[in-house]
């Protein structure tokens, strides 16, 4: 992105405007489609403006971690596919995609939305592994929120494959993945000392800092991550928390 675009975004924000004419507390239009991939146990497609993310959930049976032998295993991975942006290159995950995965993972894990204990088949030996794969198809900013929304939408919709004679019978199902909460992640960006939500790609390039807040059904905070080279004051963070709790409630209505 050219420097001039960054400056333009900043100047607009100083005049209380956004490059796509949204209000500072508005998400872009969000469209969610569920069950879009037949081969996955759960899936969702999220369009957040022009940001397009596909999330697939695959279940398999494996060994639990030795320190939590009676819980299923959760694994989140993000693929920044080269189809999604001229800046994405093929190859192993880089720090950006690792951060996205880990922040989304934290929201899901810490909210305890998946009842992982129910995913234990035989303590210490066999548990269900929940693989959440976030596939970014078009990157127009705010991949964390779009990915997290896709992940929770897909999880709420995931069917449990049958497991018989030590074999997973893909395509045959028995019940749904045990879910008990709906965590939502909301990212708040800071440009020219002003806070705005759901930054698009032009705004992301002009961001001084961002903070992602994951909230649960009760409106409690379950994960936080600050990013970017700038800073937040305590007052700004407090405002960001309030805003995330509010927006989390709104988004939760959209998906459940």
């Amino acid at each position: 992105m050219l420097k001039s675009s960054e400056n333009y975004v900043r100047k607009l924000v100083e005049e209380n405007l956004r490059i796509d004419t949204r209000g500072f507390e508005d998400f872009r239009e969000i469209k969610i489609e569920k069950d879009v991939i037949k081969t996955a146990e759960g899936s969702a497609r999220v369009m957040m403006g022009n940001t397009h993310v596909l999330v697939g959930i695959k279940l398999s049976v494996g060994e639990p971690f030795s320190d939590i032998p009676n819980e299923g295993v959760l694994i989140v991975n993000t693929e920044l596919s080269p189809v999604a942006s001229p800046t994405f290159e093929p190859g192993p995950p880089k720090e950006d995609s690792i951060e996205i995965s880990r922040v989304i993972d934290r929201g899901i894990r810490e909210s305890k939305c998946i009842d992982l204990e129910k995913l234990c088949i035989e303590s210490g030996k066999e548990v269900w592994m929940v693989n959440i794969d976030i596939y970014v198809l078009d990157h127009d900013g705010n991949l964390i929120d779009a990915g997290a929304l896709g992940a929770i939408s897909a999880l709420l919709n995931t069917k449990m494959p049958k497991y018989e004679d030590k074999k997973v019978k893909y395509g045959e199902y028995k019940g749904k993945l045990p879910m008990r909460d709906v965590p939502i992640e909301v990212t708040i960006g800071k440009i020219s000392n002003k806070l705005l939500i759901d930054p698009n790609i032009e705004e992301e390039d002009a961001l001084e800092a961002r903070v992602t807040v994951a909230t649960n059904k009760k409106g409690e905070i379950c994960a936080l991550q600050k990013g970017g080279n700038g800073y937040f004051t305590i007052d700004e963070l407090e405002k960001a928390m309030d805003l995330s709790i509010l927006k989390g409630k709104e988004l939760r209505k959209v998906i459940s």
Partner: protein, 247 residues
Amino acid sequence: MTKIGKPEKMIENGKRLDGRKLEEFRKITVEVSVLKRAGGSAIFKFGDTYALSAVYGPRHLHPRHLQDPQKAFLRCRYSMAPFSSQERIRPGRSRRATEISKVLKEALSNVISFEDYPKAGIDVFVEILQADASTRCAGLNAASLALAEAGVPMKNFISSCTVGKVGGKIVLDVGGVEDQFGDVDMAVAIIGDEDKIVLLQMDGIITRQEFTKMINLAKKGCTEIYEKQKEILKEKYKTGEEDVEVE
């Protein structure tokens, strides 16, 4: 779920498992100039958490395509020694280490005067030699001192500590067993004693009110760290170079 080996009470009579008060740090140990070859180096310990940081540069940056004609380029690498934890940590880049390296770099970027060294590279290495929670904070505190000792122009220090929720209570400086069995762990870094938060990571469930309490406690803790950082540098330059003219 009951976790294996979880103590019955994390806090008893206002005292934590290791005898600390709720808002009390573990013993903090700081040393600067601990390595011979590095431009700057420091050790920062929170109790049994032992972080070593070394700074190389500003120096010629390779590969060249990373060079910026306007300013210096900062690289940061956090890693944990294989023997630093109960269970051996496999050498090589983990996803956790990659993420922490990124947030440490972003935090330090706030205070370095990059414009003073166009085209150059500054490398900050953080090695956790012994881990007992709050490693990223100890690493950041050490890195700040190492950068200062390396003579990298900085606007201020980055000072960092953790706050947490253990046994339902808000505590300062989460220690080993508390990290494992506590409810919440939040890492915060601040520019010196200013109202500027440059690192914030949390996992675990807290209410909105608890956030306010925790962030303010973290600010207080970071200010205490900041005083320690200033003190140790002043001390070093007082004893090491007594004949230097003081303004």
